[in-house]
Amino acid sequence: MATESVEERYLMNPRISLPALVLATLWSAGALAQDRAVEATQFTLDVLSIDSDTSDSTSSGTLGAGLGATFGIGKYFGASLEVNYLDTSVRTRDVLGDSSGGSRPSCSFENLGGSASVFFRRPTLGKVGFTYGTADLKANCDGDAIFPLTREDKLATDTYRGEAEYYLGDFTFGASYTTTKLEEGDDLKTTTLNVSWYPVDSVKLSLWGDDLYDNNTYGLMVEHQPQMFGDGASVRLGIATTDQSPKTTTIELGLSYFFGRNVPLKTRDRQYR
């Protein structure tokens, strides 16, 4: 009865925002369950490899690693901290070819970043959260590679993201809105929608899309916690593509190792990370 009264009040007040409504719904729904936002602190080590190929242009390969920690703040809230490093090497042969002689130039981009998130979660229903991230991008190319916004070879970014997930049985529906500030330039605003399906508790199939640069990007990701890893690690394989010209296709292969309690992937996603 208490839940119904809260929902009625919010629905009758048109000035109440949608996120507030979602938060209130989760809060009220959470009163029925006893699960915590984060069951136990978890540390995660991620390594990933990304191949990005742009038609009639340059392809690149990215290797990266990240270290993250997720922990609870009281019963309903959680937080996570993450640092990551990505190194993207451009395949200069794609643009220069092999015919001109001389040594082949190299070109790479480095990203070193960190982020902090706080969220409210009810494992039976979903979560809402906010993330702040900061990173430094650096170009290192034979020749010249500059970021127009800074007119230098480095660029600082600040990212703000609000996100919400709704758990519906074996499905998770998510949406996020990200604003990334590139130095003093215009903000890069992106809305991302995704839906994940757990056909079994150790496998997740995700479909997502975003409107980065006002162009659609779509991706499909499969993540699996194999039994051979004892529910302590997952592998994921993803593919994404854009609908603009030139078209970029991205393939990602990642491995996550979880320190701490071994639980099924679905449980981990909803109660541990």
Partner: protein, 543 residues
């Protein structure tokens, strides 16, 4: 509950399908975004020689789509030294700086400049991915160049060999060399900066030397000119000194201008020039140069390079006007410049003396007017070069001692000063090389093959002065025994034995006096002798 879960699964699948539907049909599949355009697809540079300054950089404008995160400009190939980018709004000025020609040498060099726009790959811009990319072809031609030909004077009607100097010959296929419109009969590329040529019999005149190469846009720049002069037939006569002379330092016949140039100690040092005009030797002109020690004509004949005890003084060989003297840098106290010989790099080697001690050599570059101290040291060496400038002999030692010293040879092709393996103590007679450096005569009496350094034979010990016919087949000596000119056939070796005179000994029309210097005209028709008393002009003995 079971039905409820089934409904949620159906809803989830429906949502997945709707996202897929958006993926395939919700957007414009050919949206033009993340593109980049260049103002041109090709850039070309040209340098007139491997020694030229680098051409000015060129600017290409790139325009790109809004939202570009990074503009990367990379390049390969040897022709581009660097690229820099200056971004303003949605365009960038890409400045392409070509490599310095000396670092490339002659040739045609291709480079590719790749311009790629990078955009954020994800919402937080943790990674960049390529947008559009364009390439720019850079073509850079560094032309070969011909600078000098040595000897720069040919005898009309006579085919002979010469050495063409320049730079960048290896970067192209040399098809031939021309003298005016007349092709060389033989052309051999020896190195990147040397071509050996044989010119045919040419009428008297001036012949710009040109090099023809494949795939060169334009023609090969050349400053080399071959002057063909008619053979001379000066009658025997003497020329008086305009002022008292005690010592003759050097004697040069300027065949290009039909003039005799003599460096003497007259008045503390002077150069006397006797022009041959309208069938007679004209009034001598004189320029005083204090402490004059030696002189040589530059390879291209444009400068008379006179040295004093401490300076090099460029002199106009026609007017005797002097340019600013160049001090010998770091000349040790007590050392003085002694002798100079021109080599076909349009430069000269200069020796110094410090009595019986070693002293440093110097090099002079005619084009840059730079006098440089070398690391090599010799004992009071005397340098003389062949007319084609391919070689110079450096003989050292001091008359006050009997110790033998190594004789060195400077090969212009390699610029190396190498031991000949010959040990001698020099006397007052400077070494002699024939036109094409096939024979050398040391200390006035010892005949060697320059090619093999084998001792061929000996000339009389009574020799006061010696020279060779330009082809190296004859040696002419001025002999102290009876004051006559003797002729020797040195075309063949005597295996170290004495040569015997051939033909008839000739008594010159006058006695030159003491300290005689002797040279032959380029055609070998006339001998010039200069001593303390006078100059003697004597037709070459027939033999």
């Amino acid at each position: 509950m079971h039905h409820f879960h089934g409904a949620r699964r159906i809803a989830g699948v429906a949502l997945l399908l709707s996202l897929c539907a958006c993926s395939s049909g919700g957007g414009d599949d050919s949206k033009e975004a993340r593109q980049i355009e260049l103002s041109t697809q090709s850039v070309s540079f040209a340098a007139e020689s491997p020694n030229a300054a680098a051409p000015d950089p060129q600017v290409v404008t790139a325009t790109f789509s809004p939202g570009l995160a990074n503009l990367a400009v990379i390049f390969n190939g040897q022709g581009v030294e660097s690229v820099t980018t200056d971004v303003s709004g949605n365009s960038a000025r890409i400045t392409i700086t070509p490599s310095a020609p000396p670092s490339l040498g002659g040739g045609i060099f291709s480079s590719t400049v790749g311009v790629t726009g990078y955009f954020c790959a994800d919402a937080s811009c943790s990674r960049l991915e390529a947008g559009g990319s364009k390439t720019l072809t850079v073509t850079y031609q560094v032309s070969p160049t011909a600078t000098t030909i040595a000897p720069n004077v040919a005898v009309s009607g006579v085919s002979d060999a010469a050495i063409l100097r320049g730079a960048g010959f290896s970067g192209f296929t040399v098809q031939g060399v021309k003298f005016g419109d007349i092709a060389a009969t033989e052309t051999t590329v020896v190195s990147d900066n040397e071509i050996r040529v044989t010119y045919p019999a040419l009428p008297a005149g001036s012949y710009p030397v040109t090099v023809e190469v494949q795939n060169l846009a334009g023609s090969v720049p050349s400053t080399a000119t071959l002057i063909a002069v008619d053979p001379v037939s000066y009658p025997a006569q003497t020329l008086a000194w305009p002022a008292t002379v005690t010592t003759v330092r050097s004697l040069i016949y300027d065949a290009q201008r039909s003039a005799l140039l003599v460096a003497t100690d007259s008045g503390g040092g002077s150069i006397v020039r006797y022009p041959y005009v309208n069938g007679a030797w004209g009034t001598p002109a004189t320029v005083s140069i204090a402490n004059l020690r030696d002189m040589a004509l530059s390879t291209d004949g444009s400068k008379l390079l006179a040295i004093t005890t401490t300076q090099l003084v460029p002199v106009n060989p026609e007017t005797l006007a002097t340019d600013a003297a160049v001090n010998a840098p770091s000349l040790a106290s007590g050392d003085t410049l002694k002798s100079i010989a021109s080599i076909n790099l349009n430069s000269a080697i200069i020796t110094t003396t410090a009595g019986n001690a070693t002293s440093r050599l110097y090099a002079y570059a005619v084009a840059t007017n730079e006098l440089t101290q070398l690391t090599s040291s010799l004992i009071s060496a005397t340098a003389r070069a062949s007319a084609n400038g391919a070689a110079a002999i450096l003989i050292q030692g001091d008359p006050a001692t009997t110790a033998t010293q190594v004789v060195y040879a400077l090969a212009a092709s390699s610029t190396n000063i190498l031991s000949t393996g010959i040990g001698l103590n020099q006397n007052d007679i400077a070494p002699v090389l024939d036109r094409n450096a096939t024979r050398m005569i040391l200390n006035g009496t010892l005949v060697y093959s320059y090619t093999t350094l084998a001792g061929f034979g000996k000339l009389p010990s009574t020799t006061l002065a010696v020279t060779t016919r330009p082809d190296g087949a004859r040696a002419y000596t001025y002999d102290s025994a009876d004051g006559k000119i003797l002729t020797f056939d040195i075309s063949a070796t005597k295996s170290g034995d004495d040569y015997t005179p051939v033909g008839t000994a000739v008594t010159p029309v006058g006695a030159p006096g003491n300290g005689v210097k002797m040279i032959a005209s380029p055609d070998g028709n006339v001998l010039f002798l200069a001593g303390s008393s006078q100059i003697v002009i004597q037709p070459t003995p027939a033999s």
